[in-house]
Symmetry: C2
Subunit: 206 residues, 2 copies
């Protein structure tokens, strides 16, 4: 770890505050509807100052996505650290964390379409590295769970991976929450159930 000057620490702390705000706004409104003016206002600095830290709106969003990816990788470590956890337990653990995070309004979701953000992210080494590592880690769990017979062997591992990734932007959570008559924990339980056991709902192998 490199020793940092006080000035550098302040600089990083400010950038962290910026990225935190961006992450929240991205989760709330998405990339296209989030404006740089808004970010600057919420952070409490001038827009021009923002552009001294990040060269573009895409870079701003990319920084937030990288931080999100790092959080996800941290969660992977948390799952890995559970002593008796099987592969399916870990998959369920990371999926539950994803749902909880989204429901809490803290999951910045990439626009599914061909937005300018998509290209920026594909060109962003930090983001792509994180994505690869996350895919590898989950991929290993998936293969193991299929060997255990706890994940359907008829599905290609990539389909399982994408299905779990997609929980980060599952609109069902928001729909159920909008109803207003269920607790967050209850909503997460239901979506976990549909995800792993399906609508037809036979109990899973354990």
């Amino acid at each position: 770890m490199t020793r940092l000057s006080f000035r550098q620490k302040v600089h990083l702390a400010r950038e962290d505050a910026i990225v935190g705000t961006v992450k929240r706004l991205l989760a709330e409104k998405g990339f296209d509807l989030m404006t740089v003016d808004e970010v600057a206002a919420e952070v409490g600095i001038a827009k021009a100052s923002l552009y001294k830290h990040f060269p573009s709106k895409e870079a701003l969003a990319a920084a937030a996505m990288v931080q999100m990816m790092d959080q996800a990788l941290e969660q992977v470590q948390t799952q890995e650290a559970q002593p008796g956890a099987t592969a399916i337990d870990k998959l369920k653990g990371i999926t539950r964390w994803t749902l909880q995070t989204q429901l809490a309004g803290a999951m910045p979701t990439l626009p599914a379409e061909n937005s300018s953000l998509r290209n920026a992210l594909i060109a962003h080494k930090g983001y792509m590295d994180g994505l690869m590592e996350l895919s590898d880690q989950l991929g290993a769990w998936i293969v193991q769970a299929q060997a255990d017979g706890t994940v359907n062997r008829a599905l290609p591992p990539e389909a399982v991976l994408y299905t779990i990734f997609a929980r980060a932007c599952d609109p069902v959570l928001g729909f159920l929450k909008a109803g207003g008559s269920h607790s967050d924990a209850q909503i997460v339980d239901w979506v976990m159930l549909t995800c792993f056991d399906g609508l037809a709902g036979r109990p899973a192998v354990t």
Copy 2:
């Protein structure tokens, strides 16, 4: 049915062409990234002419969404017309149609966030009526399927309904298609499997 003059027929035909183009562009890029200039160019008329037919971009998109809703209701009738079909068969039928339509790039998907389109749609009687009717029809099938034991009784019917609706914008289809190594039919089968039987994958009650 009211008798229409030739002029009126031409008018309606043109509006149909416009709505068709909008539907495709909405499916491709979403509401925010679709521009009115683009719509006009693809239809082959001037932008100002477009605004003689529809008063705003939101109205344009709403017309496309209403047409989509009508197509869905038609599909409901098709399912209802199957002689031996049980409730779960019908639910699977409409879900499969939804997946196929999205995969074919013909499913305009509403932006999940608080876009201007959302408010326009909520204020749009034709759209909301269609949505209510669709919800009622699927709701009846869901309740019946739960009574039959073919849909998990632990799930509230609204959760099942939202889960089926959400297939219209499931990103897993696009992810798998981007890989390029699977047929559309194969992709649809896998997503159907995860939707109804879950990742854990026990065969459903039939």
